[in-house]
């Protein structure tokens, strides 16, 4: 029994077609709410975590332990004036933040979360090529960033967008190659290795242990995709004011802000699925989604620590690093995995 089937059980009086349509819609809304709540929780967690790392307390005035802080932020951002700079390119300027958010939300839907034993499977959609789809959806986000930077007619924003794109180009290929290694290893055991669920079922041992290089590469790529500090050239808080989002106000800025945190959550969820066994969990898969998020949150906290303690790499050095070190290493990873898979029959 999956969540969708249960919903259809409620709405089956509407007939097959309409019933499924309504159930899908409700499921989508539920997903949106849950993901939004998760993101709010993430940002709250980040602020508390950052505060504790810096021997501070963090927000603690609104609600118990400041738990309503993000709600207050949301209210404030909703009530903010939305400034559209007079020299903008109207359409891309308005669309760019939405692209970031839409790409993010859609990618979340495709991830298999496993099943909770009292609800059933809560995986939203199932696709035979979900791996490719997810990464295709994630690729929408940098386009949004580029559009934002170019369309706001601000020099800082332009420079930030160019940096962001240069950064994206240099880590995408290693990320894809490390993903290829995962798919390769899975293809020896399952027939549909491009499906996320079969990728999990193929992991007799977490791939993170079998592919230490791969998980390392993917972690770097994940942090870079989320543009966290060693790789936040696009934002460059101290150099380019606020990078590509310099001219954005209110909710539009909030979309970028959420996108930044959402990407790291998405990346960690992906990493936990691809390399750490996802919902199959160490002991029992009956609380699959909880396993996924425990793993994801640990990874998120690690990436927060990375964010807070490392300085920013210069963009040319990162491009250098990407092509001169990450790429060869990912090839080595691929070869090693090939040897493991074909030679040893793992």
């Amino acid at each position: 029994m999956s969540l969708l089937e249960r919903l259809f059980g409620v709405f089956s009086f509407l007939g097959h077609d309409l019933g499924y349509a309504v159930s899908y819609l409700i499921q989508a809304v539920l997903y949106l709410i849950v993901i939004a709540l998760l993101l709010i929780l993430m940002i709250y967690l980040f602020r508390k975590f950052m505060a504790r790392l810096q021997q501070r307390l963090g927000p603690n005035r609104v609600g118990k332990f400041g738990s309503l802080q993000l709600i207050a932020d949301a209210f404030k951002l909703l009530g903010k004036e939305s400034i559209l700079p007079s020299e903008r390119d109207n359409f891309p300027f308005v669309v760019a933040p939405m692209m970031v958010l839409i790409g993010l939300m859609l990618a979340f839907v495709l991830i298999p979360y496993g099943s909770l034993y009292w609800i059933g499977s809560i995986t939203a959609t199932h696709s035979a090529v979900s791996v490719i789809l997810i990464f295709a959806l994630m690729a929408i986000m940098p386009i949004g960033e580029l559009l934002a930077g170019v369309s706001s007619h601000n020099k800082y924003a332009l420079l930030g967008a160019l940096r962001a794109v240069a950064k994206d180009v240099s880590f995408e290929v290693p990320m894809m190659l490390s993903l290829l290694a995962v798919v390769m290893m899975a293809s020896a055991r399952v027939s549909t290795p491009l499906d996320m669920e079969s990728l999990i079922s193929a992991q007799f041992l977490a791939y993170g242990i079998l592919q230490p290089l791969g998980i390392f590469l993917f972690f770097i790529a994940m942090v870079a995709r989320a543009s966290y500090t060693p790789f936040d050239m696009g934002e460059s808080d101290s150099e380019l004011v606020s990078g590509y989002s310099t001219e954005y106000t209110g909710m539009r800025f909030a979309m970028f802000y959420i996108g930044m945190f959402g990407t790291i959550l998405l990346g960690s969820t992906l990493l936990s699925t691809l390399y750490l066994g996802g919902y199959s969990g160490p002991f029992s898969s009956s609380i699959g989604p909880i396993w996924v998020f425990i793993k994801a949150i640990i990874l998120v906290l690690i990436s927060f620590t990375v964010w807070l303690s490392l300085p920013r790499i210069r963009i040319d050095k990162f491009v250098n690093f990407g092509w001169k070190y990450l790429l060869p290493v990912s090839f080595i990873n691929l070869i090693l995995v090939g040897i493991l898979t074909l030679g040893l029959g793992w």
Binding site: A51, R52, Q55, R56, L57, T305, L310
Partner: protein, 147 residues
């Protein structure tokens, strides 16, 4: 003995190890106690020399105008106040403009009778730009100002 010491650059070491060590150092602070003093509820212990706002003892003021002279930017102006004080024949007392007062303490230092003095009351922010305190307001007891 003042010598000259050549400083050396940090040695080159294996990449990544140091970075992970740095992250561990940062992560270690997660388990340390926060140093925050939650201001409105808890107050830091103010050392006794801490000074912020000027107060005046009307009875001690002799109207010598030294504080007015020594104030670097004219925050202190002498005002006539109708008040019986045998020591203050001219009946002038200082008023202080906290909109310019730099808390330099020269007035306290120079006052021959210690009539003008600074205290540790610091909650003086206002929503309007009027910070000139008359001698009577300056003479208010500290507790009254603190609320």
């Amino acid at each position: 003995m003042i010598g000259v010491k050549e400083v050396e650059d940090p040695k080159k070491r294996v990449p990544l190890i140091g970075m992970i060590g740095g992250m561990a150092t940062v992560g270690k602070h997660l388990f340390e106690k926060p140093v925050t003093v939650q201001y409105p509820e808890q107050r830091r212990e103010m050392p006794e020399r801490f000074r912020f706002r000027i107060f005046l003892k009307l009875d001690d003021c002799v109207g010598c105008t030294l504080c007015e002279q020594v104030c670097p930017n004219g925050s202190i102006k002498m005002q006539p106040v109708d008040r019986e004080n045998p020591r203050n024949k001219r009946k002038i007392y200082p008023d202080v403009n906290f909109g310019t007062c730099t808390v330099c303490r020269n007035c306290q230092e120079i006052c021959p009778t210690d009539a003008i003095y600074l205290t540790n009351v610091f909650e003086t922010s206002r929503t309007r730009n009027s910070f000139t305190y008359s001698p009577e307001e300056l003479a208010l007891e500290e507790d009254k100002v603190k609320k």
